[in-house]
């Protein structure tokens, strides 16, 4: 191995933020278990991440000690629960550098967060007095991309069906990058919203959004970023990204299932009509009509997932404690290692960027013409957990001419040893099927 000296005054190799992966792994009880007689090798964190003891403890402790409904009780438990719930909101706001805590709306997941925005458009389109930025009709356009998760496709298809607007999309290049060459024609004065994935859940591509943001501002449209795969893995600054909406989900970032986030510019959330009606989202109610609370309460009808929100706050504390720069760097190193290692497997074809630049630690591939189901099954027999199928991104599979892909995805607890286990497992797959 040759070593290259970095000139003094430049950032040195050891200057990068690091953490002790073994120590982090010890926080995750599930990583100790065995699967089919082998040590668990979990390479499916893009699907859902594992939860550290620090999060599990908070979840249990909330129910054991502070359980009560929020925002409605004068009693002590109710006050504790409300403080914990709103405290979690503040932690999440700080984690993504939201200018105001009130810009963080708790949802069930990213899917619900995107649907809230889509249905706000829908509801505004029925009301002549609604903010014109949210009114859609024939001639208006919604722009997405070919690399979206189904959760960022279907809500917009349904919205366009309801309003008569037209759905358009950015194509994807052969290298798995967003094709921005048609930006000027795609995003125009007819565009009302661009809803784009920040990091693809299937190709691993991290989209550089600044050119698109600039164009969106030029034409007066809105920009939603689906950050389900990026917020868990890299620092997120919503101000720096200059988006209008950012959505992400708790269970992919060491938090529990059932809790997600819609961040929106305060001024925009305030201009949006409500979507779900019910308790907690009102200002006053008479038998004939109601007026509505300010955001975020306006979009949190009914009893929210309280313990889940509190536990997501603990997850954010955990991640912030390690440092998102360090998490990002660890995954960048893993990705570089994995891309090199997978390149040694005969007949393996990677879908998406093959260099560890502008991509995250999610790698989809084909192994010859062996079906991903069979690949995943043999790997599972060796304890290696990967996802197989269309990954809720069927248009990407179609784009690359395959019905399904095999996907390995990494997180802060993943090791190079686990990538070696994957590569060894793929050798076993080839033995069974070739």
């Amino acid at each position: 191995m040759t070593s290259i000296a970095i000139p003094p005054g430049m950032p040195q190799y050891d200057d990068v933020p690091r953490y002790d992966v073994a120590k982090v792994r010890a926080d995750f009880p599930i990583l100790d278990r065995e699967v089919n007689g082998h040590r668990l090798v979990y390479l499916d964190s893009a699907n859902t991440s594992h939860k550290p003891r620090q999060v599990l403890d908070v979840l249990g402790e909330h129910y054991a000690m502070h359980n009560a409904n929020v925002s409605r009780s004068v009693h002590t438990l109710g006050t504790e629960a409300t403080e914990a719930y709103e405290g979690a909101r503040a932690k999440i706001a700080a984690f993504i550098n939201a200018p105001s805590v009130d810009e963080v709306v708790f949802t069930k997941n990213s899917t619900e967060a995107i649907n809230i925005v889509a249905y706000a458009f829908s509801n505004a389109s029925l009301r002549p007095d609604a903010d014109p930025r949210f009114r859609l009709g024939p001639g208006d356009e919604v722009v997405i991309s070919e690399m979206e998760h189904h959760s960022n496709i279907v809500p917009w298809q349904l919205l366009c069906e309801r309003t008569g607007a037209t759905l358009r999309w950015f194509p994807v290049t052969d290298q798995g990058r967003l094709d921005e060459s048609g930006l000027q024609d795609l995003v125009t004065e007819r565009t009302k919203i661009v809803s784009l994935v920040h990091m693809s859940n299937i190709l691993g591509t991290v989209n550089a959004t600044s050119r698109i943001t600039a164009r969106v501002r030029e034409v007066g449209a809105l920009l939603l970023l689906d950050c389900s795969q990026s917020v868990p893995h890299m620092p997120m600054d919503v101000v720096d990204h200059d988006a209008d909406f950012v959505v992400f989900t708790g269970h992919k970032m060491c938090g529990p299932t059932g809790i997600g986030v819609l961040w929106g510019r305060g001024e925009l959330l305030a201009a949006m009509p409500p979507v779900l009606g019910g308790g907690s989202m009102i200002e006053t109610v008479t038998m004939a009509r109601s007026t509505f609370a300010a955001p975020p309460a306006r979009f949190e009808a009914g009893t929210p997932p309280i313990a889940e929100a509190v536990a997501l706050g603990a997850a954010v504390d955990y991640l912030a404690g390690i440092g998102m720069r360090a998490v990002q760097w660890h995954e960048k190193e893993l990705t570089a290692y994995a891309l090199d290692a997978l390149a040694t497997v005969p007949g393996l074809r990677i879908f998406g960027p093959t260099v560890p630049v502008g991509r995250g630690g999610t790698i989809s591939f084909a192994l010859g013409d062996i079906h991903p189901h069979d690949v995943g099954q043999v790997l599972d027999s060796l304890g290696v957990q990967v996802r197989v199928g269309h990954h809720c991104a069927k248009p990407v599979c179609t784009r690359f001419g395959v019905p399904a892909m095999t996907r390995a995805s990494f997180y802060l607890y993943t090791t190079t040893g686990e990538i070696d286990a994957l590569v060894a497992g793929l050798e076993q797959v080839r033995k069974v099927f070739e």
Binding site: H371, D374, V378, P403, A404, V432, F433
Partner: protein, 158 residues
């Protein structure tokens, strides 16, 4: 769980060398022909099964599709077991296969009825893969019903 119980040699043989693959037009004039296209939405596997029958005998059961070894081998076995059979007989095989796959590994298959289909006994222990094995059989059931031969349990019992 042992991988060998899932990937029996017989299954891998059918996968690597499928029997009767490809959609065919019937030789006999006057045969009723119908097909059904089924997909597994969770993995994207798909299969089209075409049945040609005079109402009594299944002259041909042809198929095409793409998918995993289990679904493709299952289609090959389906073809091998059902071509040339009487409709009622085919129904008994269909029922036995569905019963085997629904049995979570607790059903002992009858080789006289299921032939190479007995190799799928191990698949029944993998709940995530049962749908793969059943995909061509469910498509066959629909295709047969469209061709006017009642091979689905409900139609036969009626």
């Amino acid at each position: 769980m042992q991988l060998e119980s899932l990937y029996q040699e017989i299954i891998l043989d059918h996968y690597k060398h499928p029997h009767g693959r490809g959609l065919r037009d019937p030789d006999a004039t006057g045969a009723r022909v119908a097909e059904a296209h089924h997909v597994n939405p969770t993995c994207g596997d798909e299969v089209t099964v075409r049945v040609a029958t005079d109402g009594e005998v299944l002259h041909d059961v042809s198929y095409d599709g793409m998918g995993c070894s289990i679904s493709q081998a299952s289609a090959s076995v389906l073809h091998e077991l059902l071509v040339g059979r009487g409709a009622g007989d085919a129904f008994r095989v269909h029922e036995a296969f569905v019963e085997l796959m629904s049995g979570r590994g607790q059903v002992t298959p009858d080789e006289d009825v299921l032939g190479d289909g007995v190799a799928f006994a191990g698949v029944a222990r993998y709940p995530a893969r049962v749908k793969c094995a059943l995909l061509p059989w469910m498509a066959f059931k629909d295709a047969a019903a469209r061709a006017g031969v009642g091979v689905s349990p409900t139609e036969v019992e009626a």
